[in-house]
Subunit: 321 residues, 2 copies
């Protein structure tokens, strides 16, 4: 089935929200439904459309998978509390880290996150709540990239011939699947979400696991999390599509206290893009780049080298994994 | 034995050259001596001081180790032909690539190059020529870094307690060991070397093997050699201490012809420095950086990502290995 794209120029956000809420109400009926909220613009918009449609019939969860950024769970739960939506925290750290153990291949990593998310964690929540439907924020670009074989997005199934009801035991509703990022931002704004959400940078489904080359371990997660704090603080005021810190597996020769130290390298990426299909590196002031590098070398144990991405997408992709 | 540094402010190049030539003449006498010329400022200066001292008593070799840049051997031989010095080409590619096979540790790589160079190749040349002395262009920074345990420079022995006569069967003379790079440049100019030599960027002893993370293979050497051509062409007019392309071992997700391609990453470094002890990344125009990245992605098969170093030395070092 081909998805009919709604270009942002044709989008009437208020009408779109009503139509999607109606469609959800019709499909779900009186049976409980669930959704996962990561705090990104896609899942935040779905959460509010879903609660508009189903009220308390929708249970919203924040899955603490151990792969999130510093303070992320607390921030998201507090924000939605202010919007009148109760978000339940699910501690699934051990399940995700266990599933990722020993895996180095990028696609296997993504698949491990997907399976843990949909089969283990959501399978359990569906059984506990009696839900038959999962609402999620898949957008058209996720489908495109997965179908084209560029990158397996964690939230795309039907287009790969996977029936979620058979594979996981529940139906998946995707109210945003006709939109791209720019359209979702307009919808999120119309839903009354704050600018910090509707203008929020994309963050990948596999979270910080997508920012670690090679095996994902708690130690490496701690390092990339610290580097991410620096990059996000330093670039907070910059008009860019997305920025990130990536922890490399390669070791570099460095020096600490006058002696050799085979250290780690952090790669910083900051992208200009409209819809993530094409992207170019942001022309940041050089003093900003060297400041970021110096802060990362001080703040992140063992890092001796920092680089800035200067290639475009294509042939790069936005994330490294 | 502590080496007495001659700071560039105290250096009288003409007097220095005479003194060193005298010392070489006294030590070598009428027995043949040999030296290896890489084309860098250090070995070029030693070659001319040595020929001044010994005339035809010094045999000069360019060792083609398979790790050099594109066209390097031809360029160096032609330049010294014009200066009246005959340079003999030694094809040692198989020996070096064989010695590097399977080695991924940076220090083991450096050691493999050192042993092949001094023990195998020069051991053989010494036997063939009857030479008892090898002249080489060690400078004080090489000694400092090796002794401090930062980076094992291929040309430092006595300061590590290695007696070259016992280890390799010949004596090593180091006429430049009291100088740093800035002093050597003045001496090279006074020797009548062209600006392309006395202002030439440093290039590491292990050559392109120092620019490959992980195992050195002929395929990877071909890739980093192509990237080096792009970087050196694009930055030829830039006032910088040193610039380079480094081939990473980490694989990155990229896309080619609309499909996923787990590709390679090239890191570009360009350093401002006086004497290599400290260094900062050069503030290159952003348009230059993105042009370099685009050219590398087009010219080097399989490369999908290019970065620019933004960290300082320390905690980085100038080379990645």
């Amino acid at each position: 089935m081909t998805i009919q794209e709604i270009p942002v120029s044709n989008l009437d956000p208020a009408k779109f929200i009503e139509e999607q809420a109606d469609a959800i109400r019709k499909t779900v009926g009186n049976i409980p439904a669930i959704n996962a909220l990561s705090g990104g613009v896609d899942s935040s918009a779905v959460t509010l459309i879903g609660h508009k449609a189903l009220g308390d019939g929708l249970k919203t969860y924040f899955v603490e998978n151990g792969l999130m950024r510093q303070g992320e769970a607390e921030r998201v739960v507090a924000l939605f509390r202010d919007l009148g939506v109760h978000v339940q925290l699910v501690d699934a750290r051990e399940e995700f880290l266990g599933a990722l153990k020993g895996i180095t291949d990028p696609e296997e990593k993504r698949e491990a996150v997907t399976q843990t998310f949909y089969k283990k964690v959501f399978g359990r929540l569906v059984r506990e709540t009696g839900a038959k439907c999962l609402l999620q924020g898949t957008i058209l670009t996720d489908v495109d990239e997965t179908v084209a074989g560029i990158k397996r997005q964690h939230n795309v199934f039907e287009q790969l011939g996977i029936n979620p009801e058979e594979a996981f035991g529940y139906k998946i509703l995707e109210p945003l699947v006709q939109l791209r990022k720019d359209g979702v931002r307009k919808v999120a704004e119309a839903l009354g979400l704050p600018a910090s959400v509707y203008n929020r940078m994309p963050f990948p489904g596999p979270a910080l696991a997508a920012r670690i080359i090679g095996e994902v371990t708690p130690e490496k997660l701690a390092l990339v999390r610290l580097a991410t704090v620096v990059v996000e603080e330093e670039l907070a005021g910059v008009k860019a599509f997305q920025y990130m810190a990536i922890l490399h597996e390669d070791r570099m020769t460095g020096m600490r206290d006058g002696r050799r130290d085979f250290g780690r390298q952090i790669e910083v990426r900051c992208w200009d893009s409209v819809d993530a299909r094409k992207a170019t590196p942001t022309n940041l002031p050089f003093s900003k780049l060297t400041k970021i590098a110096a802060r990362i070398c001080r703040a992140v144990p063992g890092v001796v080298s920092v680089t800035y991405n200067i290639a475009t997408k294509p042939p790069s992709t936005i994330e490294a994994i």
